[in-house]
Symmetry: C2
Subunit: 223 residues, 2 copies
């Protein structure tokens, strides 16, 4: 059984502390898809009462990381191959849209940071540490997404990204794709810098296409 722990440093409502703890456990694979989440059990493990645990689980359900059946209980959400394709189809459209907006809206300071993030990612791939690589990749894309200045777009994309984070993490372990990823980042970045909207959209779209291919070739789905 996973050994969950709470970070009590932050002064937040317990439900949020529990939420972050569970969320992290799910995204890192500590809690695997299909695993049941029982309130009393988790509450005892975390040293709190059922109430904040319930509220955290409900929040995770709304985020799509947990699926619940009334009067039955909650379990870590599984994603089917079809569900993964659906998520990526929406992401492809929204990432392309982000790229378009970034061409129009990214300011100089952000461009500078994007260039740094690009280089940081290239460097990260040399470490062979998947956690470091994943973080560098997120950093790079976050700069682009945030440059749109559209909070709703940002949160929508982040929610979609969260759905597949667990699977994307797996595919980043394949070192053979790193070179291609760096090249794709460069294409996207250069297109944004030169405000070439069509090229930026194509680069963003291709980037998702390749992710999909890699994930599907590596992960085996049950249904």
């Amino acid at each position: 059984m996973a050994k969950l722990s709470l970070n009590m440093d932050e002064y937040l409502p317990l439900r949020d502390v529990v939420f972050h703890a569970l969320r992290r456990a799910i995204l890192t694979g500590e809690l695997v898809p299909g695993e049941r989440l029982m309130e009393i059990h988790l509450a005892q493990q975390l040293g709190v009462s059922r109430t904040p645990v319930r509220e955290a689980i409900h929040k995770l359900e709304l985020e799509g990381l947990v699926s619940m059946i009334p009067r039955k209980g909650a379990m870590v959400a599984e994603i089917s191959e079809h569900g993964l394709k659906d998520v990526l189809e929406v992401r492809r459209a929204l990432d392309a849209f982000c790229a378009e907006l970034a061409c129009e809206r990214m300011n100089d300071e952000e461009k500078e940071r994007l260039k740094e993030a690009y280089e940081a990612f290239a460097k990260a791939t040399e470490t062979k540490d998947t956690t470091v690589i994943a973080k560098a990749d997120v950093d790079f894309h976050d700069i682009i997404i945030n440059s749109t200045g559209n909070e709703r777009l940002i949160s929508t994309i982040n929610n979609l990204a969260e759905q597949i984070y667990r699977y994307r993490f797996e595919y980043l372990k394949d070192e053979s794709i790193h070179k291609g990823l760096i090249a794709e980042h460069k294409m996207l970045m250069d297109a944004i810098f030169s405000k070439n909207i069509e090229e930026a959209k194509r680069a963003a779209s291709t980037h998702i296409d390749n992710q999909e291919k890699s994930i599907l070739s590596q992960i085996h789905f049950k249904d």
Copy 2:
């Protein structure tokens, strides 16, 4: 004070019954933006305890209809002009994408239903009943959205639509725009029938543009 009531017919967890009651009250304007939602108060009004009310409020917060401040309480979410533009910007992109997918994926049965829905909307505008008109409009667009077959896309768009439902309801009251809406529906429908992707995307985009103009001209925002 609004007189909320519960529909106990359905055999659902109380939290869901309360959720639907509050959601409906917010979307219809019975509960106005900025109004505080106090747990004990609502619980007494609805004849339940605080627990299901709390859970319903949290769910509404995640849906974006309620905003909460820890240890302070919850209130019906207000949307700023900027927030509205953000929502519509994402919807524009996703509706155009839906139109594109609809061109490729809509089957004959759905096309038939779309045609019926188009005519039902035209007929609905004659009733001058905003509720009827709004429903007919939703029906028309739902057929297009559902024809994509992408559950994630459907739920994402529905969530965005919900954010602005209250405001869209207002603008549908303006009869002078009805003729234009019908024409826009026809353009979108015909483009889908003829599988003209570029035209469909343009029609969907224009449809949102006009909504934005109408809403902004009619609603006065505080900030």
